[in-house]
Subunit: 561 residues, 2 copies
């Protein structure tokens, strides 16, 4: 495309986006539509209307009905990638009895101990309807002290506990504390992310994370699962934003690490162990988190590229030229766009229909509307002149910006309408990221349709394989190939969704055996009876292997000394 | 000050700063002058000219001369705050013998095993001349495999090891790998920070950290001490920037966590244990780190405020108005300025002499020179109109910018010239941060001069108490008051300098006993013979207490099962 023509074509689509309004508008999509993509990691936080100050539930696993855990844990549908491991109930766990229930009632009162089968069933089912737990008791603690008492008791009785949050509302008593000078929010784990966002936005700040499930997910669950989401490219991981935590350990010990300091080099930084450990090392009860200043100007561009190498070069150029205002760099292949246009209502392709292979959404967020837009325009013109961008538009109003984001965030929703979806959430170095999509496409052939999209700026690919119905044959084409391939590239088999039950046995694809062994040692140190979130995160084989003789010898020797 | 007058006065000082040059110019100060302030945490990284691929030394502690550790570890001068704890040598450690030396030579060759007393003496002394170690052997491993063999041997023999880096040059073979698309640098621990900075700056990126000691400190030491430094306010902690590590554990196990992924939620994020653990849990051998894009435009303003509350309000306003371009917010009280003017050569106060109580240095870094400067000017004018700023100048050229930074970074250098300096590095919530300075001033009265300055944007106060000579009476006025006061505010007694030997026994001022117990448990898990960096970070009492009976019972029980 000639230099003048390219500039002209781009210019034709350009238009201003009203300052101040777009940030709020952007907030709408995840809430309305984005859940399917981003809420995946919040596997324990969807159902029900229960209210609890702390916003997590403690499901005591039981065996009263003599149903085997194998039956209870079996996969309901073979949707969303591989079948979960069929879990054999570990006989080391005790069976709940009426004395236990009485004890919990003495701590929490009648209303805090739920035995009603319907309510418990809701808590036992994950939001996708894929996994069903076998817990028969639902506990609703209201304070750190109650959590501590419950865990202390369960640990001594060896009753397994599934920490759960996310589906309870923010109650009046749980008011966060905000330090405006330092920009630090301190709150209880049960606060809903969206409420916290509104709370700090009123003070001129934003939460460092934003995700589709924000209307229902709890900050405690976000921390426990190390949620990524839409602001990751700009504000980074929760390991950088979280300043302090209060955590209750498996034996009931309250671990106070709730500092509100940006800098603290006194001893080991223990809080990081609990960020992303999926509730298996302790239950997060309070959080102190750094909040960035709210910036008033947002611009969104929707672009097409002819090939993947152009997407990569565009990312590099965007990092350099847009620098401090770049806040999103999302990519989709044309299969995604075609699907979105077919299945999503009210969505249209902002670019002329043509054989572009890739689409990129770029968002900037800054403090000056006119400057930011001028900068984005200049960058896009230069990118077209350099041949990186084939065509593009900048949203002229909130409605256009909404449409751009709706395409990107609606892909997951559109995928489900085809029939069966095998979903993978991978981290892969950017230059190799699209190779797996193409290899997968040739593997499945006519059996299915392969979509590649995701947070390119973070090296995070969402790989979806679509088919009209589930089949073992298809699964055999996908797994273990997808894990082995990712492992070979030193990628991650779970970029932002965690391991949970589904991938606990697959951790070795992303972590060395020495690292997994050390994780198991830390799990045993913090939760020696393995009562917290049983069967998840780590392979059962490393958790329940016989201790090595050297370890026992060491302990005995210490006693003698 | 009337609205017009304020604007006029400020305008008088305004002037442009050449784009592109300032960033480089800024890089000069830390190298030339900043070491005294920022290199404090790099206690093992100063002396000598030894070259090693991995850039750390393994000092095997010995007792050949029958000198007690008490003598060897005794404080050389009672400078820079409290005396170090007098350490009793732990008899559990073995004494080095000639077989050990032969073994090390078989691994490292003659040149890798240093017994020369002068060379060993250099490695035994910290850069301030305050602490002297008792090691008698210096080992210079060149690869991860050699480190692994050394540690495996020392662990089996119970020989204590002091990991050391920082004073060895970058050798040709140790070329870092840079991934420009993803902006990720992978390198060996022995790379000098300044060399890495130059390396990535040539590619259009910067290191996420910068500090005074950058010309000599090693990236491995930076990670192990969780170095803060000058870019902290903008790019945050190393916990957010470090993507992967390779670490050798005490028993020689090589723990490969060297991923180059921005997102990876597969199991516990173990690397954080080693960031800031001061070499006491393992030896960092390789690093993958995220590098931000290099921004061409830097502006520096030097301002005065009448009171501390104005400094606080100014910080809040700067966060909101300067948003994404704010890269430093440093403050100094007038005692600091007076001292700098008196003792630093070639430095002048850019503001008219007047009774201002506080001074603030604000730096912005962005991608557009004219826009950034206009924004900073507008912000400063507004702040003067609001009465937050009494007077101020924006640097008009590199020379002015240098002068502004030289004042701030020269305070530590100027302090030393008075005679005796008691130095503290505290994290305190910003609104309380200056209270300790005033309380200290009333405590020491005529005995000394109290300076308060630091990274206000990070809540990090450098508190210096100056006197003509050291005295126990003065120390008694300062300690334990300073620790107790900080503890009461839930502050940190070591914001960026670590605990080392000096504050190992003082950790309880900043961490709960449950947290310290858990740190000790993790230390015992990773380094059961406590061979790594002995006597440091954690109190000896928690490390060497008898194991509780329950723990032994648990291990024996496991064996029976």
């Amino acid at each position: 495309m000639a230099r003048r023509a390219a500039a002209g074509l781009l210019r034709r689509h350009l238009g201003p986006l009203a300052a101040g309004e777009t940030l709020q508008a952007r907030g709408m999509y995840p809430k309305q539509y984005g859940a399917a993509n981003h809420a995946f990691s919040r596997f324990y936080s969807i159902q029900g209307q229960q209210r609890s100050l702390y916003g997590f539930r403690t499901n005591v696993e039981t065996d009263d009905t003599q149903q085997s855990a194998r039956m209870n844990f079996e996969v309901q549908k073979r949707s969303f990638s591989s079948a979960a491991a069929h879990v054999q109930r570990n006989p080391a766990y005790s069976v709940l009895n009426s004395d236990d229930v009485s004890y919990f009632k003495s701590i929490l009162g009648e209303s805090g101990v739920v035995q009603d089968q319907d309510r418990v069933a809701v808590a036992n089912m994950d939001w996708m309807g894929k996994y069903k737990g076998s817990s028969q008791l639902l506990l609703l603690p209201k304070s750190t002290a109650e959590v501590s008492k419950i865990l202390s008791y369960c640990n001594s009785r060896r009753l397994a506990v599934v920490p759960q949050g996310g589906n309870t509302g923010l109650v009046g008593g749980s008011v966060p504390v905000y330090d405006e000078v330092n920009g630090i929010l301190t709150c209880e784990a049960g606060c809903v992310l969206e409420n916290l966002s509104s709370y700090v936005e009123n003070k001129g700040f934003i939460m460092p994370l934003d995700l589709g499930a924000k209307g229902s997910c709890h900050i405690g669950g976000n921390i426990s699962t190390n949620a990524g989401g839409l602001r990751f490219i700009r504000y980074g991981s929760l390991h950088g934003s979280v300043l302090g935590l209060e955590v209750v350990l498996a034996d009931g010990t309250v671990l106070d690490m709730l500092t509100t300091l940006r800098k603290d080099n006194t001893g080991y930084d223990l809080k990081h162990l609990f960020i992303g450990s999926e509730g298996s090392l302790g239950i997060v009860t309070k959080i102190a988190i750094l909040t960035p200043a709210k910036l008033p100007s947002t611009n969104v561009a929707f672009l097409s590229c002819n090939d993947y190498i152009s997407c990569q070069k565009l990312l590099l150029a965007a990092r350099r030229s847009l620098g401090e205002i770049l806040s999103a760099f999302e990519f989709m292949d044309r299969h995604c766009i075609n699907l979105a246009m077919k299945y999503l209502e009210g969505v249209h392709n902002p670019l002329p229909v043509s054989p572009y292979n890739f689409y990129v959404l770029i968002e900037t967020t800054g403090s000056d509307e006119s400057y930011d837009k001028a900068k984005l325009e200049a960058f896009l013109l230069r990118s077209m002149e350099d041949g990186l961008v084939a065509d593009g538009v900048i949203a002229q109003d909130i409605s256009q910006a909404s449409n751009f984001w709706r395409i990107r965030e609606g892909i997951s929703e559109a995928s489900v309408k085809v029939g069966a979806v095998y979903k993978y959430d991978l981290s892969i170095p950017v230059e190799k990221l699209y190779d797996i999509v193409e290899e997968m496409r040739s593997r499945v052939g006519d059996m299915g349709q392969v979509l590649g999209y995701g947070h390119l700026g973070d090296g995070n690919l969402h790989l979806n394989i679509l088919s009209t119905k589930y089949s073992d044959k298809m699964l055999a084409q996908i797994e273990p190939f997808v894990y082995e391939w990712t492992s070979k590239q030193r990628g991650s088999i779970s970029a932002e969704h965690g391991l949970g039950l589904m991938k606990a046995e697959k951790i070795h694809y992303s972590k060395s055996s020495e690292a997994v062994q050390l994780m198991a040692s830390i799990k045993k140190l913090l939760d020696p009876n393995s009562i917290l979130n049983p069967y998840k995160v780590l392979p059962q084989s490393v958790l329940f292997q016989k201790p090595r003789v050297t370890v026992i010898f060491k302990a005995i020797q210490d006693k003698i000394i």
